[in-house]
Structures are given as structure tokens and as C-alpha cells.
């Protein structure tokens, strides 16, 4: 490994900063989710997030990163293995020679995306998935779902990217993918016992708000970092992230105010997340005013979408489909409407800014492809695992809680009399 001299310090610093921020989002997600489950399952879901960091890091280094970013093997379907083990990074990544950041920094940055996308799935499987089954699930899912999708969209040689599909920071690969993959898993997994009749209220909303705060902070790295360099596009992506988060927050609480009379705190946090989800594909391609609108639409739409599970009876515990799936779809469609080259010359012109239907249809294609592909393959993986190792804990373990049954731990031990043990 020799030290490359062709990249510049600012862009490298920017991408490394982005990588640190995106890594920080996963513990943030663990808290966001952890606060929303009951006290007996909080460690279980946090553990699913932490284990995702461990497992995906290793798989990404060993195989995934290369399969995504190496020279295309043909048809834009998958990359090769020259970059496996983080080798071959003294040269620019194939197709990304315009990037000023050190290629290894770019790979690490991308690794963090794969980690959090895997971690998101835990929001659907909460309270009932076996710990070993979750590990097997995300490992297979990473290789069979995430890696191809990421190659298609994030590698310039992927077939969707090649067609001209725009996706700034992962509306397809991260958001739609996590939403529809989670839907597939929860359909196989089945509902939590007692759901929806029994109250399964969040055990600590402040924990969730803290998690949302960390997600917000980290999302600047996620979106603005996806410019892969410090430039005006990065500034716009940063700004758009803030604006969409703010209006997403407002949209959700306004909806609640009119629908249930009460604007909730968890709704505010959820709305901010929904806004950021929707702006993810658009961040560096649309104007700040469009970002305000996209965030607002996401806040309203996702507040509606999370109710669907009660109507249709699938138990997506913490609304990965309702927030990430739906928000991601919205973002991709919005990008087809509002993209403008005045923000990013390397972008496109959306339907509503006079670009015709071309880009819009491409975005719809990419969104639909992602949803269908992610759902289908993940469904097969989940089914296979369920038939072999079994996805679900026993009834008794579910009553006791997964913290004790899967990890021999209790999250909290309060009270003057200690553990009484």
C-alpha cells in the first residue's frame, strides 16, 4: 500500500468526518428504537444495532465493499473482488476519479451506510426475533440485497446509475430498501403476541428523543458527506437536511394536532426523521425551498403511513416501512419533480422545473425496482431462515422479554433495595 498523492486534504477530511457522523447514527438509532420498546426488550434491540456494526463492518471489508465499488463484472449488476480486504485503494475507485477524497476514506464512509441500513431492520423485528437469527438475516441480506442495490445505484457503473438515476445519499439503497426489506421480514415473522390489543407504549421517550438528536446531528454527515467533497453542493445538501428535518417535524405534529388533538413529542422526533429520510435522495439536487416542501410532505405523509399497519395488520413494530419505506419513495418521486441543475450541474431537471418526464420516470423506476427487489429477496431469505434455524423466540421468552431470554441481562436495576438478589 503506497500513499496516494492525488487526493486533497479538505475532501478527505470531509469524508472522514462524514464517516464518523454516520457511524454515530447507529448508536443513535439504537437509542431511538430502544426508547420505543418496552423495558424488557430495550437491550435486545440495542444489541441488534451494535451487532450490525460488528457484522457488517467485517463483511463489507471482506467482500461487500469490493462487490459494490470494484469494476463492473457485466451488465451493471455487480462489481468484482479486486478491492476485497480494502486492497487496491491506492487508485481512485472505478468511475469515481473526480472524487478528491482518499479512496479508503470513501470506502469507510460507505461502510457506515451499510451498517445503519442493516440496523434499521431491527425496528421491525423488535420484541420477538432470535438474536442468532437476526445476525444470519442481516448477513445474508447484506450480501444478497444491499450489495447489489448499492452497486446499481452508488457505483457509477451500476445499471441504475448508468441509466441516469439520481440518488444523492441513498433514498433507494438505504431508505426504500430498509423499509421494504423490513416489511418482508415482519410478514414472515408474524405479529408480537398481544399486538395490537395490548399497550406496548415506549418505555422511555427521552431515550428516543436523544436518539433522534443524534440521528439529526449524524444526518449532516450522511447527506452533506455524500457530496464526497467540500463544495457548494455539500453546503446545499447540509442546508436541505436541516430544512427538511424542520418541516418534517412540523408536518407530523400538525397532523397529530388535527387528527388526535395532541401534538406528541415522539411525533416531533418521528417527523424530523421522516423529513430527513425524504430529503436523503434529493439533498444535493434540489433547492432549499423545495427541501422545505419535501420535508413537510414527508412529515404529513409518514404520519399517515404509520397508521397503515393497524389497518392492514402487519406488525412493523417501530415503523421502518412507514417512515423509511414511505419517506424514501416520497423522496425519490420528489427528486423527479424538483431536481434542478441550478443547484447541481451534475444533477438533472425535474418535471416541475421543466425537465420533462425523463428524470421522473427514471426515479420511479429506481424506487420501484428497489422496493420489489428488496422485498422479494428479503422475503426468501427470511422464509429460508425461518424454516431452518427459526426466526422467532418462544412464547415464554417473548413474555419474559428478550433482554433476559437472549442476553441474560436486565436493562435497569433501580430502587433502594437493589436487585433483591
Amino acid at each position: 500500500m503506497t500513499i496516494a498523492a492525488t487526493w486533497n486534504t479538505s475532501d478527505t477530511l470531509w469524508v472522514l468526518l462524514g464517516a464518523a457522523l454516520v457511524l454515530f447514527m447507529t448508536p443513535g438509532l439504537a437509542l431511538f428504537y430502544g426508547g420505543m420498546v418496552r423495558a424488557k426488550n430495550v437491550l435486545s434491540i440495542m444489541m441488534n444495532n451494535f451487532i450490525a456494526i460488528g457484522v457488517i463492518t467485517v463483511l463489507f471489508v471482506a467482500l461487500g465493499g469490493s462487490l459494490i465499488f470494484d469494476v463492473d463484472l457485466g451488465g451493471g449488476l455487480l462489481g468484482g473482488l479486486h478491492l476485497a480486504g480494502l486492497s487496491g485503494l491506492s487508485e481512485a475507485l472505478p468511475g469515481l476519479s473526480w472524487v478528491g477524497a482518499d479512496p479508503m476514506a470513501v470506502m469507510v464512509f460507505q461502510m457506515m451506510f451499510a451498517i445503519i441500513t442493516a440496523a434499521l431492520i431491527s425496528g421491525g423485528t423488535a420484541d420477538r426475533i432470535k438474536f442468532p437469527a437476526f445476525i444470519a438475516l442481516i448477513a445474508l441480506w447484506f450480501l444478497l440485497v444491499y450489495v447489489p442495490l448499492a452497486h446499481w445505484v452508488f457505483s457509477p457503473n451500476g445499471w441504475l446509475a448508468h441509466l441516469g438515476v439520481l440518488d444523492f445519499a441513498g433514498g433507494t439503497v438505504v431508505e426504500i430498501n430498509s423499509g421494504f426489506s423490513t416489511l418482508a421480514v415482519v410478514l414472515v415473522l408474524g405479529k408480537r403476541r398481544g399486538w395490537p390489543g395490548e399497550a406496548m407504549a415506549p418505555h422511555s421517550v427521552p431515550l428516543s428523543l436523544l436518539g433522534a438528536g443524534i440521528l439529526w446531528f449524524g444526518w449532516f454527515g450522511f447527506n452533506a458527506g455524500s457530496s464526497l467533497g467540500v463544495n457548494h453542493v455539500a453546503v446545499v445538501a447540509f442546508t436541505n437536511t436541516q430544512l427538511a428535518a424542520a418541516t418534517g417535524l412540523l408536518g407530523w405534529v400538525v397532523f397529530e394536532k388535527f387528527r388526535e388533538k395532541f401534538p406528541t413529542t415522539l411525533g416531533a422526533a418521528s417527523g424530523a426523521v421522516a423529513g430527513m429520510v425524504a430529503i436523503t435522495p434529493c439533498a444535493g439536487f434540489v433547492s432549499p425551498l423545495a427541501a422545505l416542501g419535501i420535508g413537510l410532505a414527508a412529515g404529513l405523509l409518514c404520519a399517515v403511513a404509520v397508521r397503515a399497519k393497524f389497518r392492514f395488520g402487519y406488525d412493523d413494530s417501530l415503523d421502518v416501512l412507514g417512515v423509511h419505506g414511505v419517506g424514501g419513495l416520497l423522496g425519490m418521486f420528489a427528486l423527479g419533480l424538483f431536481a434542478t441543475k441550478s443547484v447541481n450541474a451534475a444533477g438533472g431537471e425535474g418535471l416541475l422545473v421543466g425537465g420533462g418526464t425523463h428524470l421522473f420516470l427514471l426515479e420511479v423506476l429506481a424506487a420501484a425496482t428497489t422496493a420489489v427487489f428488496a422485498f422479494t429477496v428479503t422475503y426468501v431469505i427470511a422464509k429460508a431462515l425461518d424454516l431452518t434455524m427459526g426466526l422467532r423466540v418462544s412464547q415464554e421468552a417473548e413474555y419474559t422479554g428478550l433482554d433476559l431470554s437472549e442476553h441474560a441481562e436486565s436493562a435497569y436495576s433501580h430502587g433502594g433495595s437493589g436487585r433483591l438478589g
Binding site: A408, E409, S410, R419, L420, G421
Partner: protein, 112 residues
Amino acid sequence: MKLIVAVVKPFMVAKVKDALQEAGVVGMTVSEAHGYGRQRGHTEVYRGGEYDVEFVPKARLEIMVGDERADELVSLIVETARTGTIGDGKVWVMPLATTVRVRTGERGADAL
């Protein structure tokens, strides 16, 4: 008047409450408790330290009832809260000398 105290598994509280409500009992007081008995606790592990937690979470229900209904309601509670596995809990009944409703000062059966 009698006081029925029922120590049951925590997830039985809602079911017992529903059964009592149906039987016309309009009130009860619940508190959290931990029980020790034939039901074994569990082991927790923290950095190689294994801790035996011998106490199991239980809910403790108190229901004031008229003397004439005590037996019937005890049976109702026992049947409702039963899973048949060790640790289902205990019910005991105690005599009450006085009962008052704070809001009105009513006493005896009127306090219910």
C-alpha cells in the same frame, strides 16, 4: 367487609381486572412486588459475573369487597390468574374493621 390480596404474575393484571369488572367489582389497588417461592429466578451475566436473581416480578392486587362476595371473588381471581405453571401466586383474605371512601366519608359497604 374483607380485603382480598392477590399476588399474581404481572401480565395477568389486565385479565383479572377485566374479570372482576365483569363481576361488578368497580375498584382495586395494584402495586409492584417481587416474589420468592418455588418458582426459580434467573441468572444474569455482566462481564463474567453471574448474578442469581432469586426474586421474580409479581403484581399485588388489593380488593375491598363485602363479606358475602369474598369467597366467590377469590375463586374468580384464582381461576382467571391461573396458568398452571409454578409461580402463579397466592391469594389471601383479611378481615376489615372499617372502610371509608375519602371523597364522601361514606363507610362500610357504601365506601366501595
